[in-house]
């Protein structure tokens, strides 16, 4: 059986609609992606979600928190957004130890600050909690926190930091025994 071929580089004008297997656009822009829009046509999309920069800081000097009010734990990092429309992802990996030779329940809550503004706080001071069941307990671990800041709205330097408050003011040690804690920030371009 004869097999006919069509040269698609000739004889076609305009754009091929999505419904016909096309993209619905006449051309694209270098470095951009294609995506569906609400009308099911394809459009040349901006570089949504591109990471603009990444900064991080570590802390290994122990901080012993013995208060129910949120106080600094020396875990902070500076970032200067390249655009006011950028969003910031803040992540932390906080090393903690709760353990003494006393039969006492212990716990703590965490607060994230943008400069002096509270942008996220544990609902309770026992967000991380250890229930003592004997007279000689030790508990330690790492707590990951992740926040998405949509309200930075600046191109000036921002300091993100974490604070901790201890349940019932029972002592909790952060960055214990030279084990590191870390804070990281990503600038997510609009």
């Amino acid at each position: 059986m004869a097999f006919a071929t069509i040269d698609v580089t000739k004889g076609i004008t305009g754009t091929i609609p999505v419904a016909n297997g096309g993209t619905g656009i006449a051309s694209g822009t270098t470095g951009q992606f294609l995506k569906f829009t609400g009308s099911t046509t394809l459009a040349s999309a901006a570089d949504n979600g591109k990471i603009g920069q990444f900064v991080r800081a570590q802390q290994t000097t122990a901080v012993t928190v013995s208060t129910t009010t949120y106080t600094a734990i020396n875990l902070s990092v500076n970032i200067t957004p390249s655009a006011a429309s950028s969003k910031i992802i803040i992540m932390a990996n906080i090393k903690y130890s709760m353990g003494l030779a006393t039969n006492t329940d212990r716990g703590f809550g965490v607060r994230c600050m943008r400069d002096t503004t509270n942008i996220g706080t544990s609902a309770t001071l026992y967000d991380v909690y250890h229930k003592s069941t004997n007279s000689d307990f030790i508990d330690g671990g790492r707590v990951p926190f992740c926040l998405f800041d949509e309200s930075a709205n600046t191109t000036s330097q921002i300091t993100y930091s974490f604070k901790v408050g201890a349940w019932n003011s029972n002592s909790v040690v952060l960055h214990a025994d030279s084990n590191w804690s870390e804070i990281m920030c990503w600038e997510l371009l609009a």
Binding site: A62, S66, T67, T69, Y70, A72, N118, I138, K163, A176
Partner: protein, 72 residues
């Protein structure tokens, strides 16, 4: 977990005054370190602790704390 001088100091303070609220940055190996303890005196409008290095508790002195630390 190591029973550090910071933890010992924290325990000693709690023995002397159970409701004392404070934050210790680093270790407490001397009176000089003890004088760097941040004592919590209240909260600001954001619920963040207001601190001072001036010890507001007359019953908590370095001598008394050191004595308790040595017992632990």
């Amino acid at each position: 977990m190591i029973y550090t001088t910071a933890l010992k100091c924290s325990d000693a303070i709690k023995i002397l005054k159970s409701d004392a609220q404070f934050v210790i940055y680093g270790m407490v190996d001397s009176e000089s370190d003890f004088n760097k303890i941040e004592w919590v005196t209240g909260e600001d409008e954001n619920g963040t602790g207001i601190t001072t290095k001036t010890n507001p508790h007359s019953e908590i002195t370095w001598t008394k704390v050191k004595t308790e630390m040595d017992k632990l």
